[in-house]
């Protein structure tokens, strides 16, 4: 890997973007690795886990990591937030980065299907195959949630289409 010339990149711009997207703790991170020690993303072997993601962002490495799918593996367990000794709120930085990725349409395929499900049914995780199983045990085909409520679905769609995600033009 060639050495990067940090002095030609605008680190301040990247850090400001992270702050603007909700990751205001980015300047407080001291790279102690406590978040990584409990992070399911790191444990599962995704390369760009919390601490390293934060370092890349702190040093203005934005272009090269924007397509990386690691952040979408975050389970929002928030253990990092609980243990961070600097109150940097690592989970919020990860989600800030996701928002920045989403703006670039750099959404992982693993995240794209749940997103479309959410728009269609109000559930990020929803399986059509559940219908038969429910019937076989004497339950109604559809649960009494937004899945069975067209009006609720329309409200959810209105919310999503009029928020920042609507601007992406994916729905």
């Amino acid at each position: 890997m060639a050495a990067l010339n940090l002095s030609t990149m605008s680190q301040e711009e990247v850090i400001q973007a992270v702050v603007d997207h909700g990751g205001e703790g980015i300047t407080r991170c001291i790279q102690c690795n406590a978040c990584a020690s409990v992070c399911p993303v790191a444990k599962a072997g995704f390369p760009l886990f919390g601490r390293l993601l934060f370092r890349k962002l702190q040093t203005g490495h934005y272009e090269e990591i924007i397509e990386d799918p690691s952040s979408w593996a975050c389970q929002a367990c928030n253990r990092c937030t609980e243990i961070c000794p600097r109150d940097a709120r690592p989970f919020e930085i990860v989600f800030a980065f996701r928002r920045m990725q989403a703006e670039e349409l750099a959404i992982s395929t693993s995240a794209f299907t749940p997103l479309m499900n959410l728009h269609a049914t109000g559930h990020a995780v929803y399986a059509d195959s559940a219908k038969e199983l429910r019937q076989s045990v004497g339950l109604p085909e559809l649960p009494e949630t937004s899945v069975a409520d067209e009006k609720a679905q329309q409200e959810i769609q209105t919310l999503l289409e009029n928020g920042p995600m609507g601007e992406l033009g994916i729905f």
């Binding site: 050495a3 990067l4 370092r55 702190q58």
Partner: protein, 670 residues
Amino acid sequence: MAKVGVYVCHCGSNIGGVVDVETVRKHAETLDDVTVSRENLFMCSDPGQEIIRQDIRDGLVDKVVVAACTPRTHEPIFRKVLEGEGLNKFFFEMANIRDQDSWVHAHDHDGATAKAQKIVDSAVAKAKHLMPLEEKYVDVTQAALVIGGGVAGIFSALELANMGNKVYLVEKDPSIGGVMAQLDKTFPTNDCSACILTPVMVEAGTHPNIEMLTYAEVDAVEGYIGNFDVKIRKKQSYIDWKKCTGCGDCADACPVRTPNEYNAGLDNRSAAYIHFPQAVPKKAVIDMESCINCGGRKIGSETRISKKTGKPILAPCERACPAEAIDRSKPLDPQGEILDVKVGTIVVATGYKVMEKDNFKSLAPDSPNVLTALQLERLISATGPTGGKFLRPSDNVKPKTINFLSCIGSRDERYHTHCSRVCCMYMIKQAKLLKEKYPDLQIYMHFMDVRTPGKDFDEYYTSALEMGIKIIRGRVGGIDMLLEDKLKVMAYDADLAQNIEIDSDLVVLATAIELQDDIKPLAQKLSLTLDGSGFFKELHPKLKPVETPVEGVFLAGCCQGPKDIPDTVAQAKGAAAAAAVPLAQGRVKIDPTISEVNRDKCSGCGICEPLCPYGAITMTKDADNHSRAIIEMTQCKGCGVCTTACPSAAIELHGYSENQIMAQIEALTL
């Protein structure tokens, strides 16, 4: 016949965990002249000591052997027990079965137990021959010497002086103040160094009990605790300080330009100069090494009269001085003047220096834009070469990018293995001061790790992060000089696991703290030793941090090891307190375990005289006109070199007499 009591100590599990104490106790019982043999978990505890007291009171014991730890820490405790019961306290012998046995043979229980018995045999053999000895006292000179006029020396001097002691404060430079007087601001509060130091300098300079001797050095030290004879060389200033008002006109008139030490070589001063604007005392000196003797006015030369004007031809400095303090026709001694002072105790506070950048060839030392941190300190100081303007030395342009490199010469087998301790913090201070003043300045700091162990230190560091100062974990390996006076810093970001290169306008090196090159002669004069890192060695790293192996000589400040200003002041006050103890007591005890010459046996061969490391032996003539050796008891340290060297066996080392030593050897070898 002696009645020897043997007391074997478990020392918790230190001895008892290895040596079978009961076996040793039983063995001692079988030895000749041993009347009682007992054991205890801690002989040094109150109940342990009471066992010995009771045996003495009961008349069972008149010589005591304790088989335990080291006499270095515990001999005084047990001697006090004997003294308290009316026995001569030198009727005591310690058998060290811990440091010399259980600690070194922790895995050999049987061997250690056997060795403990041998050590006890030897101690008992000696104890039988112990003779009563008597401590003597000598009076103390009510004065102290403080060597070094930096912040450590100033505070030591003030403490001692405020206790009512006469203090001689010796400083090699023309002014007191030391390195702290060169600093711009101080961490972690960013208060101005001069603002907090100058009032203290003035207080020391005007204190009725302090005799300030600046531009002076210690030439020779003789004597011992309570009575040191010190020769102080007052260097030749070539200016009559009684007349000098510190106006600085001579410095303005002097045409010479030579590197200015006060500004760490960033600009030049004249040969006639005042050390720095807030100097105490504010007196000028002429540095004869750079003086060019304008108008042929060599020191001591006859004053010629100008044929044209009829007036004397004088050098510019002489002409400029409104106080007539400079007269180059006087034959002043370049060696200066020797002052003899007598003091009871000495505080050594000689400070340190930082390594020069020339030592680090891979870090572009030839570039004027590579600075040591001390140079940056001067560059951003209001009294510095640019009047506090932050300008790149090569072209006087304001830098846009600056890199700070830590551990230069520290934590490095090639230079110094020690951590210089203050660099992390002063670099963060410099970075913060610059970022506050110039928010657009790009600041990169390269650390192996950031060390901030002090009150409010880590908060200081993390606030630097939040200001946008870039901290990079990784040591910088090299700097390339680029066109337009730029520098390419070749670094590694361990957190990214990636090489990085940064084009920089200015690079600051936190070079290692070390002792001055010329400190060794002073160490020899004081009989002080240096530690592995090259600093003055304290007597004990934890419990005697200001004491030295030389009684009556104490350490303060960075000469004992790198430390920041709060620690330096604390140690300076500690050293002053320790140095005041003998002065307050008014007399010091002379240990009687020293050598004495039997003048009847002495042949006067003189072999012993040059061997004595303490200069305690002289040859004096007796009434029969025959020269014989005599040992000055206040100077003898009881090392025993003379005793072993004397061909006539005329010298006895009390407490280690020949029959005692031979009995010990016999016990060990039988």
